[in-house]
């Protein structure tokens, strides 16, 4: 009787009323698929990477190890290949992130002011967002090639001697930087544009009323007000630059012409995907990477909280 009444007058429905069984069933229905995926492919492998990194003489095939210890870390951190990989990666970050930021700031400010040709400019600047780097890397290889390469054609036409861009250590590194910058520019410009649009236009109106020059407005208003966004983008880009692997592989099919472009991820990749898998080393190297990225992420969180972005 009472139940029936409730049905007829559902206006008294209270969502907290019947917690118990129905809510458990709902949790399973709504969160089950998601949590299954997260547990199996994120949480378990995360914990397992830590465990593996402390297993001495770990063999994945037989699933055996001789004991727990820091052997893998000792080996990895003393491995000249890993250390040079770390250096190459840091150098890549230190070169590509600031240059792409500087270029992006200029382009974003100009794009923000531009009233005409918006569609055509956006198309040119932002198309690399969707196109696979595997395809564009081939174009870069062709443009910088010795035979029939556009850049070398221009150089020789100007009377200079041809440069072996893809076959020498020095130049292959520079081509990688150019490719990296070209790839990251669109993303960087878009985030900076979003930051620019958050600046109150009153600042500009006031500055112009005071007769400020364009360049002074840029250095005294735009850049300081944009600096929280700049800092955030720098961190986000650094994180992605630390994970560089695809570009190197796609440009050279190996870690550079003289094995000069070994990166941290390349090391991890070769230690577990190669012919002689050494999972312990790969795990230890991946945890070094994890801590580098964790530091940057915490920095980002602090900044984001401060600026309320």
């Amino acid at each position: 009787m009472n139940n029936e009444k409730k049905h007829r007058h559902p206006i008294r429905y209270d969502p907290d009323e019947k917690f118990e069984i129905s809510i458990l069933w709902k949790i399973l229905l709504f969160l089950g698929p998601f949590m299954a995926g997260i547990l199996l492919f994120t949480i378990y492998p995360f914990i397992n990477a830590f465990l593996m990194s402390f297993k001495e003489n770990y063999s994945i095939l037989r699933d055996t190890f001789s004991g727990w210890g820091l052997g893998n870390y000792r080996k990895v951190l003393n491995d000249p290949i890993f250390v040079s990989g770390l250096k190459t990666t840091v150098k890549y970050v230190v070169i590509v992130v600031p240059i792409s930021l500087a270029l992006s700031i200029v382009i974003a400010v100009l794009l923000n002011n531009a009233k005409r040709f918006k569609a055509i400019l956006q198309t040119a600047y932002f198309m690399p967002l969707v196109t696979s780097t595997a395809a564009i890397s081939l174009v870069f290889r062709f443009i910088f090639a010795n035979e029939g390469g556009l850049v070398n054609k221009i150089i020789t036409t100007l009377g200079q001697s041809q440069i072996n861009f893809l076959g020498t250590n020095k130049w292959s590194e520079i081509v990688l930087y150019i490719f990296g910058i070209w790839n990251i520019l669109p993303f960087t410009i878009i985030l900076l544009l979003a930051g620019l649009q958050n600046i109150d236009p009153q600042y500009y109106t006031a500055a112009r009323a005071d007769g400020a020059k364009t360049f002074d407005i840029f250095t005294n208003i735009t850049v300081p007000l944009l600096s929280p966004t700049i800092a955030l983008v720098a961190i986000v880009n650094s994180i992605s630059a630390f994970k560089i692997f695809d570009y190197v592989f796609q440009l050279y099919n190996k870690p550079g012409p003289g094995y000069n472009l070994y990166t941290i991820i390349y090391y991890i990749y070769e230690k577990f995907g190669g012919t002689k898998p050494q999972y312990g080393y790969a795990a230890a190297a991946s945890i070094v990477l994890f801590f580098i990225i964790a530091v940057f992420t915490l920095l980002q969180r602090v900044l984001q909280r401060k600026t309320d972005y």
Binding site: P33, M35, F117, V130, T133, F142, L150, T214, V236
Partner: protein
């Protein structure tokens, strides 16, 4: 009326912008331009533009590279992966925003902090997990590990949280279940967020490289376009005309997508850009 110095400023502004745009666009232009040239024409630089529009490169690349298969795989992986991810994400975002149970927000905070884990760290174990699940060398190995995304759930949950609970109460009064309320009320309202998520996920799936390379080492039949193209270049040898034709085949679908959804892609990237 603009004075001369303003006009000059405008001129230099657009000059800089178009120079930059030309540099950004150059690889695309050079790729398409070269894909119509013969190899001889390419290497000799006789003319800037192709003498005639040769489709022979495309035919050769298409036949040598097995691109039809790679293309089919790419479409399958992208469509299935995006569909499954959306489904899982919608359910999870609802669960973490509208269901009430103890510890809900704490669990979600812990999950959000896990977004900083680089995928390369998880890859070691996932590689083995895929083997244990007997998925190695099968196309599902490119999909299964990626259907639960904390980041997309985070975006969608933020939107769901902004929907007032009074709407929920009135839907319940009308006799709707949670399931109906989610699909008939919340999902239609969340369309902008869902478009963002779908586009970001589609771009990621379509361009996924390293994992595809690892998974397809046992079976070339599951290669998708990006790694298929890289493999094609080592199998076909150095013939830039064929490379450029192959690259054009891979890039054109994405360019078409971009031309149609430029605005949503740009807003999507700017909203989704600062993950971490």
């Amino acid at each position: 009326m603009k004075n001369t110095s303003d006009k000059l400023k405008d001129f230099f502004q657009y000059l800089t912008l178009f120079t930059g745009a030309a540099i950004m666009f150059l690889p695309f232009f050079w790729m398409i331009n070269s894909s119509f040239k013969t190899e001889k024409e390419l290497l000799s630089f006789q003319s800037f533009f192709p003498k005639e529009l040769l489709f022979d490169n495309f035919r050769q690349a298409w036949e040598m590279g097995d691109f039809l298969k790679y293309f089919g795989n790419s479409v399958f992986v992208t469509v299935v992966c995006v569909a499954l991810t959306m489904f899982v994400t919608i359910l999870a975002a609802y669960g973490f925003s509208k269901l009430r149970f103890p510890g809900r927000d704490l669990i979600f905070t812990v999950l959000v902090s896990m977004m900083m884990i680089p995928y390369e760290m998880l890859m070691l174990t996932n590689y083995e997990t895929i083997r244990h699940l007997h998925l190695f060398g099968k196309i599902w190995s490119l999909i299964v590990p990626f259907t639960s995304s904390i980041f997309y759930t985070y975006i969608l949950r933020n939107f769901f949280l902004s929907v007032p609970d009074s709407l929920y109460q009135s839907a319940r009064i009308d006799g709707a279940s949670d399931w109906q309320y989610l699909w008939e009320v919340m999902v239609p309202m969340a369309k902008p967020s869902l478009v963002t998520i779908a586009l970001l996920d589609a771009i990621t799936c379509w361009n996924s490289f390293m994992w595809t390379m690892l998974m397809s080492s046992g079976n070339r039949n599951i290669r998708t376009l990006p790694f298929g193209l890289t493999a094609f270049t080592s199998e076909a040898g150095v013939h830039y005309n064929l490379w450029m034709a192959g690259a054009t085949i891979v890039v054109i679908p994405m360019i078409i997508l971009f031309l149609f959804c430029r605005k949503s892609i740009i807003t999507g990237v700017s909203r989704g850009g600062l993950k971490g």
